[in-house]
Point group: C3
Chain length 336, copies 3
């Protein structure tokens, strides 16, 4: 039987996702357990983290295990990911050795590896985590690469807590301004999970250039078809917000400008008005607001929105702890 | 009932301080416990640390808990502390979210945040830790900002261990040379705790410019009045050391030169003779010497002083571990 | 009775080494224990690490203890190691205080401190770890300085697992190319442990300039004499590999060029053909290949060698975890 990883929620059926969410809810009611007693997880951060690192490290502890935090290239050796390379550059070791050795030490390997932001055709291959999954002999967990499946589960759990049944709820994923062109991972993930849960999803963005990679658009359409929801794109703020039950905000860089970000800047700067504010939220049907965090206040969303009772971003962040315990426990429970 | 933090010893009565010291002494005799079983503390370091980090991390472990070490701006996202800001600068998230999210994850938040050393009127507001205390829903611990209350307790415990009753002991807080203008935190703290414990305190410094912020001078005078001790300032090395029972050394930058440190440099450089040496210690009444560490040998104190039997700096450092366990256990024991 | 450290295997008799290896093998069969219950180890990294840090941190956890990871000069204060210095440079504290304070906090201190690569006559004194051992009042463990004794044990255990009796097996320590002049620590260590285990050792290197420090050559000869093995130097690749049972590869800088590395570069560059490849391995007597890692693939050894069944580098890396548990447990078991 093939080793199961947690690289994307697309590898998990709707029923499996529901089971993970139920396990997470149980962990939220009763945070401690022995599912990782004596076990360990390596957390490899190629990029910074606050919530992810804290929630994974704490989740391992709460289940009796131990997390080891490594930052390759900073406090560990830089790593080569391509096969067959003559390693005369910066990298001091190859992913084959890193993944194999870590697999001898720990029971789970979790990886955060953002895109390089130079060439989307390269970044979309997600080579770092795929290389870990290829060489590791223990389960690998995605802590955000070009999708962010742990965030998806935390988001889904928060929505279920506040809305109950999510079927055909109007869900708006809105692009927002941010001074830098950010990763599309959370946006891709929002599309995947919202459609998987059968919601009616609107992707709201300034121009067609901000539509997400067709891979995720197509997966979203298939998820919607399979789960009785829908997916459409809108560039009309008022239309998108009107009657929404959920507004999920995220900023990201427009893919056609990938690696030529100075050319995207004027387009980006022209759409500061995508900020989530009270006027927009007033158009919704008592809609909830959330964001994956970190969030720049008064840039992506106003103070009033962030501090409103309908903002569930803190609940979503809290849920990271519990969904990740569910993921770790589930991966460790698979037959060896 | 309001949530209790540990931001300054001034928020704690003399009786409460004594209780913490007794609990710390008990932990020193018997280091392990279950007071933090399954609990966690986030340690946020905006500045480097050796003793503080080790003693907090170890203290959590010895009581059955787990410490998570975070360095915002290095391995976590940079943070905005002002309310209402349009966050278009470096900071990727606001303290409101950081403190609220961490409060969902951990049971205690400990913060080290040194002054910025540019404008004392800003730094003396202690905004970073106050912002944490404002937004957090779990207790916040000061790991050194513009005071260093954990060091105060460790220092007090070491003095009690070596001297027993501290009432009206002659206590000298002496400025010493250091090539850089350091934080006044430990000096402020020494004034606060020495006066609180009823000692007769002399603040010895090169010139009136090196007197500490009037806030701490006034608090020291009030503490002294309340506890039967005294507080005076001296610029006379021999007078200050003569008959002293305790010499506590620290270097700090002169407040009138704050942010204009190149102008302070000649004054500072003219007072290298404030170094604690055997000749000065010989003037004391079998006085103890201590320092919070780190200490530059042969700059702040000579090798002979550091290696003398009357040097209790290592005992004081050891006590950090036990007083902090007492603080953590006490904060967690408050009614929810 | 003097406090026992683990600074070099030369301080341990053959029988003591065998006992450590047996304990390590037992830990490999049954990874968890309570030998460090409630105990702690400080891991001080003056240089980066992946395997060492992970295996020590995990080893402490598996035995019920806790490891604290410190990087002086990065997340802790820079340290002075010389006695008697007037500390007006970068260092904020002296090893005397660091070692004494850590000894009050933790039960074991482990140190990684590579040479500075400027003056071998200085680096060969190994001052950093010797200063820790001098001032610490708890056992000190070498995590790689100018030798790497933990790697020696892991290597020895892997050889025993694959070959059984090692007496008079032909062991080749081969220099390999690497773009930088690396530390001789693992090479020194390979000489020490291979001769201690009674093997017939050939040091294969490009020119006499690459022979190791006479201190280790002489120790190797004495070990060989005492344990019935031998030690010789060869510059003939074919002669060295022919009939070998073990090929251990490592790159290092030639000592006569120490600190003048630009002058060594052409010599180094002329010996890229020392790479371990299948043709060379075919000369051996079904020889095993190993390396301490990190390894640059297709520079030090080819992909084919690294991925061959005779490559035991991953086993050796795995053994780090278990030999280090044996070392920690053994050091803690000594009478106080």
């Amino acid at each position: 039987m093939a080793l199961r990883h947690f690289l994307t929620t697309q590898d998990y059926s709707r029923a499996e996702i529901d089971t993970l969410l139920e396990q997470a809810a149980a962990f939220k009611r009763s945070p401690r357990g022995q599912q990782l007693a004596g076990k360990s997880v390596a957390l490899l951060f190629f990029n910074p983290s606050m919530r992810t690192r804290t929630s994974f490290e704490l989740g391992a502890f709460q289940l009796g295990g131990h997390a080891i935090v490594l930052s390759p290239g900073k406090d560990a050796w830089p790593i080569e990911f391509e096969a067959g390379t003559v390693m005369e550059g910066e990298a001091e070791e190859h992913i084959a050795e890193v993944a194999r050795v870590l697999s001898r030490y720990v029971d789970l390997i979790a990886v955060r590896a953002f895109p390089k932001f130079q060439d989307w055709s390269v970044d979309r291959e997600d080579r770092v985590i795929k290389a870990f999954a290829r060489y590791a002999t223990v389960p690998v967990i995605n802590m955000e690469t070009i999708t962010h499946p742990c965030q998806e589960l935390a988001h889904a759990l928060a929505l279920k807590e506040h809305l109950g049944d999510l079927q055909n709820r109007k869900y708006v994923l809105t692009w927002t301004y941010h001074p830098k062109p950010l990763n599309t991972a959370v946006a891709n993930s929002a599309l995947l999970i919202a459609t998987k849960l059968g919601m009616d999803v609107t992707l709201l963005c300034p121009t067609p250039d901000y539509v997400l990679d067709e891979r995720y658009m197509e997966a979203g359409r298939q998820n919607a078809a399979r789960n009785g929801g829908s997916l459409k794109v809108s560039h009309d703020i008022e239309e998108a917000y009107r009657g929404a039950h959920v507004v999920y905000a995220k900023s990201w860089g427009a893919l056609p400008y990938f690696g030529r970000w100075e050319q995207e800047k004027p387009v980006r700067d022209a759409h500061r008005h995508f900020i989530v504010d009270e006027a927009k939220m007033a158009l919704t049907d008592h809609g909830l607001f959330s964001h994956c965090l970190p969030l720049r206040r008064n840039v992506k969303a106003t103070d009033a929105v962030m501090d409103a009772p309908y903002c569930i971003a803190i609940d979503e962040a809290e849920n990271r702890l519990h969904v990740q315990k569910a993921v770790m426990a589930s991966l460790l429970a698979q037959p060896a």
